[in-house]
Amino acid sequence: MSQALKRKLADPRTGGLLGLAAVIAVLPLFLPNNFYYDVAIGAGLSAIVCVGLNLLIGYAGQISLGHAGFVGLGAYSSAVLTVEFGWHPLAAMTAGALGVGILAFLVARPILRLRGHYLAMATLGLGIIISIVVNTEAEYTGGPDGMTVPSLMFFGRELYGEAVWYWIVGAALLFTVWLSLNLIASPVGRALRAVHGSEPAAEIAGVDTAHYKVLVFVISAVIASLAGSLGAHYAGFVSPANVGFFRSIELVTMVVLGGMASTYGAVVGAAILTVLPQLLTGLEDYEHIAFGLILMLTVIFMPRGLVPSFFTIARNRLASAGAPPP
């Protein structure tokens, strides 16, 4: 193998992406029926949101405690605009994403001029407000029991069924990861890392810190909204259960568990936190205890998150064994 090819493969933007594509392509061989597809799709949708959220948490050093609200706004835009107003699903999805983008901008612009974790507080409030609205505006949203959403029509074809949606979500995830990796490697990404490292230093170097923080927040909110719209059309159903504060916390947990500032870490975190509760249902009443214990132990023993910690461990092993590089 030529050096150039090796280098290309080792680059997360090519090798990592190929790896992820391979996993998505091979995974169906291990999925015996639609229920497993359903879990995989759920993991994929969460992963999309987490990759976006990771840009904000891992690179801009800001925390959003209202991301489930953005996912919910996307989902409910798709649901309400198509059902109540007869919009085309793609138009509804775009309108939802635009609306969320504008909302995120309006919230973030004044707040991100301040230094510190004010964004966390603002998004916390915003997320709770969104949750209250979808719960109480039962006339449009169906209230606590949610509402049904029509299937996504694409060039006159109805997109229905787990097998179809697996590939849609898989493609969307690949695209999001590609987008995220490119963004990180671009001048914007370098500016973001500078902001994360030291804001005063970044400012001295001429980086408009507020601008970049707002930009990445809007991007991550729009990604969340699009994932929400996809999820709503896939499930054919939206309910406030996935819009609330706890879902926002869960999303942050996924990013932290997988490893902050690691795009693949966000994907792994999302996959694990989606799959684990399903694996633990056999424990019945002890399910939540086991789930909490696993999370606690992970955070205690791998404080930097699964993916970065695994790299460190693997590297140390290789170094101490004196193994030649593969």
């Binding site: 090796k6 080792a10 291990f30 015996p32 799959v275 249902t281």
Partner: protein, 387 residues
Amino acid sequence: MTRHFIKRTLAILLTAAAALAFGAPGAPASETIRIGTFLSVTGPASFLGDPELKTLRMYIESINKDGGVLGRKLELVHYDVQHLADKAKTAIKRLIEDDKVDVIIGPSTTGTTMATIPLVERAGIPMISLAGAVVIINPVKKWVFKTPHTDRMACAKIFGDMKKRGFTRIGMISGTGGFGKSMRGQCKGLAADFGISVLADETYGPKDSDMTPQLTKIKNTKGLQAVLNPGFGQGPAIVTKNFRQLGMGMSLYQSHGVASKKYIELAGAAAEGVRLPAAALLVADQLADNDPQKVVVVGYKKAFEKRWGSAVSTFGGHAYDGLQLAISAIARAGSTDKEKVRAEIEKTSGYIGTGGIVHMSPDDHLGLSLSAFRMLEIKNGEWTLVD
């Protein structure tokens, strides 16, 4: 470069491992008859799901001891879905696709039932819901049945009782969950037929913990004689407490959504004098000896209370009826063929259950009449039969 290589390999391995851990499918359906259920065992609707699950477990054990059905043992597959529609959707997919159950009993609430009906209809598997609202069976869905009386019947029973007592001006405070929402609509639609006008109409959310503001508005509405509270779970107990704290000075009616001893325990002394329509099960001992339901309800009550050491609720009774309907249909069909079982459930006629005497038909997937409902009043912390 090595670092990147490891990074890449590990990313792949990790994701693959996650996939593999999941790749082992559930055991294939063997000789057992698999009964799937997904109930609200925890959360604000645990009132319903807890006795339902206990009932199913208890009777499946005893049926298996007696040799099972068609010579095959019964096997219960259960997932707790709280009151959450999206959890219910995951559970029903798992029951249908992965566990490959033969028949489904549940879920506990109207919201979770309505969310799963499209999937059940697409998959073609008989489901006997244990939820209250009339929307579940009206319009009739081919594969969906239910055992509890409908909210519409509850409205009719309550309004009949109000009329007898001379109440014509009432206020309503409803839960916004599926059952409360549905019953609110049904009652408002029916009120005029009974010459009753609804002058105040308030709502509360499933997790709300204080309904004083809504009740204050109702209290300030002039000339009200009674208040009706459609809802289930903790909400109505809180409404009852707030109702007494505010000294409302009118009669309070609850739905059959509170027909459990837990409601009286939670509301305490505030529950005194509250009226509600409910199945005969709650007043098993007070039934006349020639009542055809007496043997069934006394038998179930004794068995449940002996096994679990807690008082019966009508919800456990709904699960009992659901299980009996399912296994007798399987026995008559002579197989677990889904279409045959569905047809047999639909042909159920004269089954005497805890909820009443069931006569199903292709147009009626409930099969109960209004006479199956009794009007109860809470006196000294006990259910008493008034009608």
